[in-house]
Every structure is written in structure tokens, then in C-alpha cells.
């Protein structure tokens, strides 16, 4: 018998394509990856040879807030929305296990997001490669880390989705979490700790406690050569100084993998014990 997992995964992908958001997201990433100045400078014949290298440093800074925003918005409503309309119960009354329903949705949404980022980054990469192949690896890292951040954010969105009963509550909680992870954490929380308390030893735990910060710092480690990378900031500087580039990158990459695995596991364990409605 064909697994319900594939049917649900396929439906999630089809729904994403039908809703047109995937194309919008991909186009956004394309311009984010390339930068609007590329088109203007290119049209005027003023494009510098190392332009891709110049924008690649700013790419992750721009992508990092956007990825969890879209991922949380997509994932937080998936279970809660279906629970609210009754389709979740109807789906679970079919020959489909909770595991198939849950992971069919998870993989479907994560694949949709990765596809959108892949199309956006991929299109940009082709142009970059034609212009200057040197920076292709940096772009690939940007895609990899954005996908991992997306996976982690989708996992957190699923935790919200299994704990809320309505679509409105789920999207509200998702946006609040994004606000905490992206806005409050960086400009408020970390700022107070590092400046007011001058507690450098807390920088590593505070960085790895937030997948957005983990991704941002990890990506910056790979962008060290970009002329537009800018200041490393206290977290990255501290990690480079304490552990060196390779060890710090490995620590952060391992932490990011944990951020991908743990939230979705927690969400599934909650979902498995819940009634269908």
C-alpha cells in the first residue's frame, strides 16, 4: 500500500505551488542573493569584477530575519489550522498514522521552503558563477545555512502548531516568537548582556540558545573574506578569539543541527499523545 506520508507530502508541495507564495519567496531570495545594485550596475556596464563577493557578506544578514519569518508563518498554522477546520481529524480517520501525517507535513513544508530558497539562490548563483566563480562556495554555504535555519524554524513552528487550537492563535504565537528571536534577542537582550554586564563568557551560551543567532554567526565565519562583511560584532569576535574559526564553526554547525532535530522531535512527541481534535 502506498504510504500516506507521500500523499500528504505531495499535497503540501502542491498547495505551496498553487498558493504562489513559493514563487514570491524565490524571487525575493533571488534579489536578496544578487542585490538590486547588480541589475542597475550591470545595465550601465559599471559592474565591478568582485561584485558577487561584495554582496555575499550582506546576503546572510538580510536572509536571516526573513527565513524564520516565512518558516514560522507557514509551519505554525499547519496543524492548528487543520485542527480548527476539522480536516486533521478527518485525515487521521483515514488509513494514515500520526507519524505519517506529522512528518508528511513537516517534510512537505521544509522542502517547499528549501525549494524556494534553492530557486532564488540558485538563479543568483548561475549569474555569480558566470561573472566570478570564486564566490560560488560562499553562496552554497548561504543556501545550506538558510535551509538549516528554515528547518529549525519550521520545527519551532510545529511546536506552536501542536500546542494551539486555532489558526489565529498559532500565527500570533509564531509572529511573537519571530519578534523575540530576531528583534528582541539581538538588539535588546544580547545588547544588555554584552554592554551592561560585560559578561563575555555568556556570549557562547546566549548565541547557541537562539537558532537565528547561531546561523548568523556561523554564516559570518564563512564570509570572513568579504569586503562588505563589516564588523564581526562581539559574539563572532569572541568565538574566533576563544576557539578559532574551524572549531567555532563546528560547534555552531552542531548546535544548528540540534536546533533542527530537537524542536520537531518535541512537537511530534506532543502530537503523538494528543487527541485528534
Amino acid at each position: 500500500m502506498p504510504s500516506a506520508f507521500y500523499m500528504i507530502l505531495r499535497k503540501e508541495l502542491k498547495d505551496s505551488l498553487k498558493s504562489k507564495w513559493l514563487v514570491t519567496f524565490a524571487v525575493t531570495f533571488f534579489f536578496l542573493a544578487l542585490g538590486v545594485p547588480y541589475i542597475i550596475l550591470g545595465a550601465g556596464g559599471l559592474l565591478p569584477q568582485d561584485y558577487p563577493g561584495m554582496v555575499v557578506g550582506t546576503l546572510i544578514t538580510l536572509a536571516v530575519p526573513l527565513v524564520p519569518l516565512v518558516s514560522l508563518a507557514m509551519s505554525s498554522t499547519t496543524i492548528a489550522g487543520e485542527r480548527e477546520t476539522g480536516t486533521l481529524e478527518y485525515l487521521l480517520a483515514q488509513p494514515a498514522s500520526k507519524m505519517e501525517v506529522f512528518f508528511g507535513k513537516y517534510v512537505g513544508i521544509t522542502l517547499s521552503l528549501t525549494l524556494a530558497m534553492g530557486l532564488g539562490y540558485g538563479g543568483a548563483e548561475l549569474i555569480v558563477y558566470a561573472t566570478n566563480p570564486t564566490f560560488i562556495v560562499s553562496f552554497l554555504y548561504a543556501l545550506l545555512y538558510s535551509s538549516m535555519l528554515s528547518g529549525a524554524s519550521v520545527g519551532l513552528g510545529f511546536v506552536i502548531s501542536v500546542l494551539t487550537k486555532t489558526r489565529a492563535a498559532a500565527i500570533g504565537s509564531g509572529l511573537f516568537l519571530w519578534f523575540v528571536l530576531v528583534i528582541i534577542y539581538d538588539s535588546g537582550f544580547l545588547g544588555v548582556i554584552t554592554v551592561a554586564l560585560n559578561a563575555d563568557s555568556l556570549l557562547l551560551p546566549l548565541t547557541i540558545a537562539n537558532p537565528v543567532e547561531t546561523t548568523r554567526i556561523l554564516a559570518m565565519m564563512h564570509m570572513a573574506d568579504s569586503p562588505l562583511r563589516g564588523e564581526l560584532g562581539p559574539q563572532a569576535s569572541y568565538l574566533l578569539q576563544e576557539y578559532g574559526s574551524i572549531v567555532a564553526s563546528r560547534i555552531l554547525a552542531a548546535v544548528l543541527i540540534i536546533w533542527v532535530v530537537v524542536p520537531i522531535t518535541i512537537a511530534y512527541l506532543i502530537f503523538r499523545r494528543q487527541d485528534a481534535s
Partner: protein, 306 residues
């Protein structure tokens, strides 16, 4: 020994301290329509959802021999479910809906066409399900329930949201399915309809099974009588008529104006009329009020609505 469609053993479902289903055991034999009845909050919908594996519970439930907890996929393949409210994906067309759920049940494409014709939705195949009326959605969900041709159907308040014409159409579809050998279990709060649809009833109250019986057996067991009213052509023959009625087994005979009122066994109506004619008591008019499930329900539970 009859074959069993659904078997529940010591099923208990609690919400905090409240026992929605309390140590409930029952068996549904194969064939016919079984009505699961009970007052609001009695636990009938919760029990139905336990059968489908949609609620965590203690005890065990098997469908066609497959345990819903240990072997949920095989158990769910034996059962089709139609919920009370339409719960379809609005963005999918009628055809896509059948294809989506059909693929989960490994159903051939030709079966989808058959089902569309069976529920009368072939002209709506390319329409989104959001464009269907309530009755059409109900029929589409019946088509989904029938995809893998399961031997048992669970219908939750199937006619509650339908107008009279659609109720009759839906009832005809159910009768057709039963004639093909399917077992249909339905919940309903419309007691007036039950004896027209169901051959057997299961009454649940406070999470426990109170009665499992056929409708005529239930009336007999509860000693529910038909009320008969007779008006004689010649009122002076009233005394002779009462003697004849008593001989026929009528009870609680009383005189109300020109009418004689009495309780009789529902199966004894003709005998009563024959005895009156033999006693030379010509009948001008008569009325019969049959016992109904509301009476039975009130007698069993002492409560109002079902």
C-alpha cells in the same frame, strides 16, 4: 454465532476527572443499520471517535478483527467515516478530493468514477468542494468513506444538517448500501427518524451502554404500549365494548367523552378490533398512537433530549 463487525471491550475515556466513556463493552454484529443513541454529553460521539482511533482510551476496540491501537491502518481500511460537519479541503476539487484519499487507500482510478456516479456528483467533478451545497458535501464524504469498499461505515449525525429531501435521498443511499451487505453505525439525536433507518439501537448514557436491542424488542422489554382511541356507532354499547376490550388484553381503559381510551400491545391491534366486531360493537372511528423512541428514552434515562 453471528460475525462481529466492531467489538469494544472495557473502553474508558476520561477528560480529567470526567469519564466520557465508562468501561463500555459492546459488539456490533455484521449487517444492518445500528443507531448509537444517547442524550447530549452521553459519550456517543466520543465513543465513535475511539472506534476510529481519534481519541486515546483504555480498553480495546477491534474492527473486523483488527485492533485500532495495535493495527490502526488495517483497522481503518475496514471502516469508512462520515463526520457530522463537512470537513473537506476547500482548495481541492471533488475529483482531487477522491484522488487524494483514494491514493491513501490504494484505490484504482476507475473506482473514483464509479463512486462519483453512485453519489450523483459526476457533473461536479471539476468543481472545488467549497462550491458544493451541504448535501453534496455529505455525499462526497460518503464517497470518500466508500473508497476502499469497507464493510463497515460510521456516520456521525448524518442527516442533522440536511433538508427533508436530502435526508430522504441520504436514507435511500444508506438502505442501498445495507442491501449490499454493509454494516452501518450512526449516531443521531433525531429519535423520530431512528426506527425508520435503524434495525438495532445502542443507547449510551453517562458513558455506559444502557440498552442494545432491536426497536420492537425494546418497546416490548420496556412494556411500552400503543394508545388506542375508539368511538362507537352506538354509545349505549359502551359496557359490552369494555368487556370485549379487556378480553383482548387492553388495559387502562377509560371513557373520555364519546371516546374509549386504552393501552394495547402494539402487535395486538387487529385482535382488538376483531373482538369489538364479534361483540357487535360497531366502530364509528378509531385512532392509534404508536410508542416511540422518545417514550423509551424517557423511561430508561428519565431525561429529556437525545
Amino acid at each position: 454465532m453471528p460475525e462481529i463487525s466492531i467489538s469494544a471491550t472495557n473502553v474508558t475515556k476520561t477528560y480529567g476527572e470526567f469519564k466520557a466513556v465508562d468501561d463500555l463493552s459492546l459488539q456490533v454484529e455484521k449487517g444492518g443499520v445500528w443507531a448509537l443513541l444517547g442524550p447530549n454529553g452521553a459519550g456517543k460521539t466520543t465513543f465513535l471517535k475511539c472506534i476510529l482511533g481519534l481519541r486515546e482510551f483504555s480498553g480495546s476496540i477491534t474492527i473486523e478483527g483488527y485492533d485500532i491501537v495495535k493495527d490502526p491502518k488495517k483497522a481503518k481500511m475496514q471502516i469508512g467515516y462520515v463526520p457530522q460537519h463537512p470537513t473537506l479541503y476547500d482548495e481541492l476539487t471533488v475529483q482531487e478530493t477522491l484522488r487524494y484519499f483514494g491514493d491513501m487507500r490504494n484505490v484504482k482510478r476507475s473506482r473514483l468514477k464509479e463512486l462519483l456516479e453512485f453519489v450523483g456528483l459526476e457533473l461536479w467533478a471539476r468543481q472545488p468542494s467549497s462550491a458544493l451545497s451541504g448535501g453534496m458535501k455529505q455525499r462526497l464524504m460518503l464517497a470518500v468513506a466508500l473508497l476502499s469498499d469497507p464493510p463497515t461505515l460510521l456516520l456521525d449525525e448524518p442527516t442533522a444538517n440536511l433538508d427533508v429531501r436530502r435526508q430522504l435521498e441520504f436514507r435511500d443511499l444508506i438502505n442501498l448500501l445495507v442491501s449490499e451487505g454493509k454494516t452501518v453505525v450512526l449516531t443521531t439525536h433525531l429519535l423520530g427518524d431512528v426506527d425508520q433507518i435503524a434495525q438495532k439501537i445502542m443507547l449510551i448514557n453517562k458513558g455506559k451502554l444502557v440498552v442494545k436491542s432491536s426497536v420492537p424488542d425494546l418497546f416490548r422489554d420496556l412494556d411500552l404500549t400503543s394508545q388506542m382511541y375508539i368511538e362507537l356507532v352506538d354509545p349505549t354499547k359502551e359496557k359490552d365494548a369494555i368487556i370485549a376490550l379487556e378480553k383482548s388484553g387492553a388495559n387502562d381503559i377509560s371513557v373520555k367523552g364519546t371516546w374509549l381510551e386504552m393501552g394495547i400491545d402494539p402487535s395486538n391491534k387487529i385482535a382488538v378490533l376483531d373482538n369489538l366486531r364479534n361483540a357487535d360493537c360497531a366502530i364509528k372511528d378509531f385512532k392509534i398512537e404508536e410508542p416511540n423512541l422518545e417514550d423509551a428514552f424517557m423511561k430508561i434515562t428519565g431525561e429529556g433530549n437525545a
